[in-house]
Each structure stands twice: as C-alpha cells, then as structure tokens.
C-alpha cells in the first residue's frame, strides 16, 4: 500500500510532527515499506477468527469507586514550563 507525499503530510499534521519538504519523499517510501510488510499478513486465512482487542485472554479488572489520590499539584507543577493561579499555562488556543 504505497503512500504518497500528500498522505505523509496529512499524517504528520495529525501527529503534530514537523516533516520537512525534502524529507517527505523518503518518509513516504519508508512508511510504504512498513505497510507492505504488514500487508503480508493479509495472506493468512482469518475466516472464523474473532477480531482481537487485546493479546491477553483476560477481562478488565474493576476497581472500587473510592478516592485514593491526594493533592500533589505543587509537585506536578514543579515540572511544568509555566503555571499561574494553579493553572497550567499553554500557548493561546483560539477556537
């Protein structure tokens, strides 16, 4: 399944990755090769095989509804680039 430059641009944007114009061609080739590799699995006969959501044959464990966490804001915010009034500050997002 070959990807072209436009596909790579779109995927890069969705992942918020900066891929330079010169690199696009190469990345498209690399990604296409990976997809080709995965594509080989299409040869396996999967009729009658249920789609898998997780490799472990177990069900999700549930925890009781209880508050167990304490307020560690100061410690979390000590590694944040910028905070004010207890808020994390980020570059302005305009809707």
């Amino acid at each position: 399944m070959p990807l072209d430059k436009a596909d790579v641009e779109k995927i890069a944007h969705l992942a918020r990755l900066a891929v330079s114009e010169e690199a696009l061609e190469g990345v498209a080739g690399d990604l296409s090769n990976i997809l080709d590799l995965v594509e080989q699995m299409g040869a396996a006969d999967t009729s009658g095989v249920e789609p898998m959501a997780h490799p472990l044959h177990m069900a999700q464990r549930l925890r009781p509804d209880a508050v167990t966490e304490t307020d560690l804001r100061d410690r979390f915010q000590s590694i944040a680039p910028q905070t004010e009034d207890g808020l994390y500050l980020v570059p302005r997002v305009v809707e």
């Binding site: 779109k10 944007h13 969705l14 918020r16 959501a53 997780h54 472990l56 177990m58 069900a59 999700q60 464990r61 549930l62 925890r63 009781p64 509804d65 209880a66 508050v67 167990t68 966490e69 307020d71 560690l72 804001r73 979390f76 915010q77 910028q82 004010e84 009034d85 207890g86 808020l87 994390y88 500050l89 980020v90 570059p91 302005r92 997002v93 305009v94 809707e95």
Partner: protein
C-alpha cells in the same frame, strides 16, 4: 416547498461517581484548579488506567432502564486529537463495541400522543479538562480537575422531527439519569451537555439531507432556540439555491444564532484503535443483577401509577413525576392529607410558583411535604377556606410554624357558626340599602352576579373567615 426536519441528539451526561473513571482522584465540582488531577489524569509516563466499577454499573443501570441490549463485552478505544485540555493526546472512549446497545425511550407530546425515540447506543468515556481563555498574558490556562471524570455519551437515532421532539427527548433522558441517580444532571455545572445533528429534507423524501452538528448546548431552552434557528438557516440556504455544508456549528445564545466553527477537515480524523492499556470489559448476569438490584421506579411507571392510584390527570401525573424528589414530596403530602387531587393542585400550583419565584428546588422548599399535607388537611375538614389557606401557606413558607400553629396564632379559623355569620350578613344588608333594592328589582339571571358584591363585603367584614357556602345560602335566604 414543505420541509421536514430530522434531528438526532448526542448527550454527554456526567456520571455521579466519587472518583474518576480510570483513577482514584476525586470528581468533586468546584475545587481549586488542578488539585484533583493525579498522575493518571495528567497522562504522565508509566501510569495505567484502571476502570471504576461504579461507572460500569451506572451504564448498566441506564441500559436496563431504556431496555437496551447490553454489551456483555465492550472495548475501550483511543480517540486521538490534540488539544491542551486533553493531556494524553487521546480520549479514552468506546467505539465499535459500546457497553449499551440499541434501546428506546418514549416521549409524550403536547397533544398527548406518545412517540418512541430510538437510542442507538451509549458508551463510557472520560471527560477532558477545561480551558480558560481569559487573559493570562495572552496564554490559555488549563484546569485538569475535570479530566478523567466519567461520562456516558447517549446517542439517539435520527427519530426527532421538531425542536419540541428534541426537547422532550432530552428532558426524558435527563429525567431517567436523575431517577437512576447516575448523574446529578446539573446543567450549569456541565453535567448534562447536548449536541444536535440537524438536517432538513423535502417532505416525503426518504434520503436524509446534509446535516450540521450543533455543539455544547447546555440548556433545554437553548436547544430549542438553536434548532429553530438552524432549521430556518438551512431552509433559507437551500431555497436560495445554495447547499448545506456538513460542519460543526456553535450556538451563540446572546445573538440567538449558530455559526460555523473554524475547524479543519482533518479534525474529524480521530484514528480510533483499541486502547492497549485496557482489557475488554466483560459483564455477566451476576454483575447486571447486582447493578440493577436497587433500580427505583422509573418515571413512566410512576406516572401510570399516579393516574391509577390517585386519579390524577396525565398532565398532572407527568408534571409531578418530573423528578423523584418532587414525586416523593407529592406522595407524602397527598397521603398525609388523604386528598391527592387537592395535593396535586397545591404542589403544581402555589408551591411550584413560590419555589420558582425564589429560584428554589423542591428539595430546598421551606415548606415540608408534611406541612403542606397538614395545611390541606385543614382545608379538607373545613377549618379554613381555600382563600385563607393561601395566607396560611405564606406564613408557613416564612417559617411561622405549621398550619395548625399559624391558624391558631392568627385566629384564621373559619367561622362556621351560623349565628355569627348571620350577624355579619345582617349588618352588610343594613349598610347597603341601595344595592339591596337593586338586587331585589333585578332580573333573575342577573342576580347571581349581583350576589357577588354582598359576598365580597361579608368576606371583607369577616376577614375572609366566614364559610363561603354558608354565606351564600344565608344571603339568598335573606335577600329573597
């Protein structure tokens, strides 16, 4: 051309758990920013989400209430997008295998007809944080206390054909989640948020028109107004030769209009995939039995019972079952007084009016159900008239004690002693010779109306305490 409106709703309702859906942080509203956002909610490296049992049980309750097929095996998926209030870069949601499958609810329209609205699915997911766009030196402030709060997203079929349908459906879902106690439904605090998918098509056409999605409507009134505006906009557009574009729009309550959100096309490319941090959720019969063991009587069942048991009208019954608290209040008052219809009138009339005036909920009523029942009891046994009762009601409302205390303290007991009433009647007749003359000379059919003057004077003289039936009888006797 005749146009038909087609509406589907997506409702996000916050589940009333103590802790978050995947972490042990508190969900309490209104706390200082980020004091309830733990490492899991912040998406720090190395953390693992663990699912809250109660959130699953609440979803099962809802599914059971709308007679839905429950997803015995449901799968959490990652919905990928970037926004600063979503620390992980994805929201944990459910996609292909939701916990609640196809169900249905009934809505009662104004003309009394019942309409069934399909519920496509309901799935569990986590809420995002909040962005504060006020001035932080040109930056945006992020509060992640809400991040990870459990939501049940309830998706309807496109079964609604008018704004009224949509409001009735939304109110029904709101009523159900509150009855079940799985959400406080508090709209001001964002516990119940609605998105509406709206399209129009020529009457009779099978194919749906192109839809627009209205986001984040947080009141029933806005839902109704936003739909009205949007339907007009789409029809105008088509009739003037344009087309409706599939897009997300925001409703501006101040301007009463919807406008396009400048979202890029790829914003809708969420690239869902099963979350490898979470195993499939399996629920068995025992879990369902346990979750639904304490299900309360649901709104429709209660409404039917009120009609049967208390002889109320459908309208009164529907009004009184709007919430469990209100229904409970009514039942307590009605049982105490032994007068369900009178109790219904007081609860939906004077009480509702007074609560509304002061912006109070039924749970905050200064008059308890027991006190209202006591007041109605005194109307029933003729201790006071209906008119005086309003005065007593006001006194109880103002904290002057219960009905008997107020009646005693203010001397409001109805005068039923014929002698005492007769005395007042005689005085009024003696004081108004001219009116008496007019009355006696009047045509028979006009007399009824003219009698009102005398009744009014007598009630005034007795400070409203004379028994109205006795006054009427005595007057007719004496005026001839």
């Amino acid at each position: 051309m005749q146009w038909e409106t087609v509406i589907g709703l997506e409702i996000h309702t916050q589940l009333a758990t103590k802790s978050k859906i995947f972490s042990g942080a508190s969900t309490e509203f209104g706390k200082a920013p980020n004091t309830q956002a733990c490492a899991v909610d912040l998406g720090l490296p190395g953390v693992l989400p663990v699912l809250n049992r109660e959130a699953v049980a609440m979803a099962v309750k809802f599914g059971t209430a709308i007679q839905a097929a429950l997803g015995r095996r449901s799968v959490f998926a990652r919905k990928n997008y970037f926004y600063p209030d979503l620390p992980k870069g994805y929201q944990i949601s459910q996609y292909e295998l939701p916990i609640v499958g196809l169900g249905q609810v009934e809505i009662v329209l104004d003309d009394g007809t019942v309409k069934t609205i399909g519920v496509t699915r309901a799935h569990l997911e986590e809420d995002a944080g909040k962005s504060l766009h006020e001035d932080y030196h040109g930056m945006t402030g992020i509060d992640l206390n809400r991040a990870g709060t459990p939501l049940l997203e309830i998706v309807s079929e496109p079964d609604m054909r008018s704004a009224k349908d949509a409001v009735a459906y939304a109110k029904k879902i709101h009523q159900i989640v509150r009855y079940l106690g799985i959400s406080d439904g508090n709209m001001q605090e964002g516990s119940f948020r609605m998105d509406a998918n709206i399209s129009v098509r020529p009457q009779g056409q099978e194919k749906f028109g192109t839809r627009a999605e209205l986001k984040n409507l947080n009141s029933f009134r806005f839902l109704e107004k936003a739909i009205h505006f949007e339907v007009e906009r789409q029809i105008d557009r088509i009739e003037s030769g344009g087309e409706v574009v599939q897009e997300t729009r925001l409703y501006d309550a101040h301007k009463d209009e919807t406008r396009s959100m400048r979202t890029k096309e790829e914003a809708n490319d969420y690239r869902y995939f099963p979350d490898p941090d979470l195993l499939p959720v399996e629920i068995d019969d025992a879990f369902i039995a346990d979750a639904t063991a304490d299900m309360p009587e649901l709104p429709d069942a209660k409404r039917h019972r009120f009609v049967e048991q208390y002889g109320l009208s459908e309208l009164d019954a529907a009004q009184l079952t709007a919430s469990r608290a209100l229904a409970g209040y009514f039942e307590t008052a009605a049982d105490k007084a032994g007068e369900p219809k009178l109790a219904a009138n007081w609860v939906t009339g004077d009480l509702a009016g007074a609560l509304n005036k002061d912006g109070l909920e039924i749970t905050e009523s200064p008059i308890s159900a027991d006190q209202l029942g006591g007041l109605i009891l005194r109307i029933k046994d003729n201790t006071i008239s209906g008119k005086i009762a309003k005065q007593v009601f006001e006194a109880i409302w103002n904290g002057e004690g219960d009905a008997d205390q107020v009646i005693e303290a203010k001397g409001l007991k109805q005068i039923t002693d014929t002698g005492a009433i007769e005395k007042i009647v005689d005085e009024v007749i003696a004081d108004n010779p001219e009116q008496v003359e007019n009355y006696r000379n009047a045509e028979e059919k006009k007399k009824g109306k003219m009698l009102g003057f005398f009744v009014g004077q007598i009630m005034k003289a007795s400070k409203g305490k004379a028994n109205p039936q006795q006054v009427n009888e005595l007057l007719k006797q004496k005026l001839g």
